[in-house]
Amino acid sequence: MSTMIAPAREAVRAADRVAAARQRVSIGETLGQTLMMAWRALKKMRRNPEQFFDVALQPILFTAMFAFIFGGAIAGDVESYLPQMIPGILAQTVLTTCMATGTQLREDMEKGVFDRFKSLPIARIAPLAGPMVADLLRYTIAATLTFTMGLVLGYRPGGGAGGVLAAILLAIFTGWSLAWVFTWVGTIARSAQAVQGISMMILFPLTFLSNAFVPVETLPDWLAAFVRINPVSHLVTAARDLANSALVSGEVAWTLLACLTVIAIFAPLSVRSYKRHM
């Protein structure tokens, strides 16, 4: 082992450092730091491939399962159910994927490295936003696999490749926006298990009380009223129109509006509660 004497570089002068210090983080620096954090999260994913289990298995499993269970009952046969169901599964998988964002953030925050992130002169949002950028990869995998599985079962989207791609992009963006909710839960909850529990409670009503798997007309009025305002319903309808008939409907606008609202509320909330945790 070599000696550990610090190098004989030029002496450190406190006064010079004070003068050279920057007052605040610029937008460019924030972006750069977020990308570095994303790089870290990607490295982490590569070293823990089990993180891909949910995004890989869930679309395959759920698509096959739901198609055969509900297909006959709801649409008469599996094939005519697929155009209705695949966008529903798309929404569901993307939402489940973003739930993991909060759980993992909580786990991460309990580790020592977050103490260092806090002590570094970096934008407070970077440690939160970085992993979310890396998660875009997970959404892409989940969404692509859902459609692939649909194709295998005999789904032939009328909207063509362009329509499907648009539906996937919309779903990814929605997942990414809603992930801010779970990030916020991640910063307020006491443990990773708590995050998981709370997230489930948010997620289940959102996905199942929507038009993802059953037509709204079959529901009682009071439930139908909630289903119609549920943002997940908007996403599902928008994705159906895009994938099945390449139609950019007003639902797309509603979905995007809901997403932006969620980001506007929960991104600042997350950063604030993360700061308070310090």
């Binding site: 082992m1 550990m4 002068r13 004070v18 260092r116």
Partner: protein
Amino acid sequence: MLATLLKIDAGRAEIFGVDVAGNPHVIRQLVGVTGQYASVDENLTARENLWLFSRLQGIAAPRARRIATELLGQFGLEEAAGKPIAQFSGGMRRRLDLAASLITRPPLIFLDEPTTGLDPRTRGQMWDTIRGLVANGCTVLLTTQYLDEADQLADRVAVIDHGRKVAEGTPDELKTAVGNSALQLLLADPGDAPAAVEVVRRVLGSDPIVSPERGRLNVALDQADLAADVLIALRTAGVSISSVSVAKPSLDEVFLALTGRETGRDDETGTEENR
């Protein structure tokens, strides 16, 4: 709090003339923190850790690479550079952690018990590193439970007992405040300890520190001459002694005298090393 990890709830603090609460971003550029628990990323290798922390602090890629190599060399971690931290020993993590704090060569470094749980050789290396930092003009604020460490490294020592500073000064000042020298007595018969305490109290007017299980007494003296008085009084009282030494008090005795208790498990000594 000073490192902006916690919010300041009362009062005001300045580091190098910069208000801590008002300019946290500036403070973070001036201060390096190394915690008790190594705050490095377990999922990355040593080199990737240093690279990440350099890049986050706006150091350009080629320079970040150079700094990483330099620091790994300095801390004897070249061979482990490509290994994930999960495989590192405690000492290696601690060294990497300190290396990560030194990337931007901050003028003030907080070290929270940097040598707790390290073997004597690694501790010696850590001490050398700390001395090197100070030689380079850094101010190091170090907390430790090992008073020997404070004695070795620190220019100024603050003794903290239950969250309150009970004394501050150079190690010599603190020792002098407790007494110029200490008389250490080993009784031939540990059962004589109460009698010996009685004698010391009569002669000096103060209580010695007793370790009853081995019959060891530690007596603080204002003047080394008084040692003879104590010894004569003991002989007169019929307490026999198996060994005697007179020494300058150690910081341990300072600590015990200041906190007034035999054991101080929850207490920490903050030491500060200035250039």
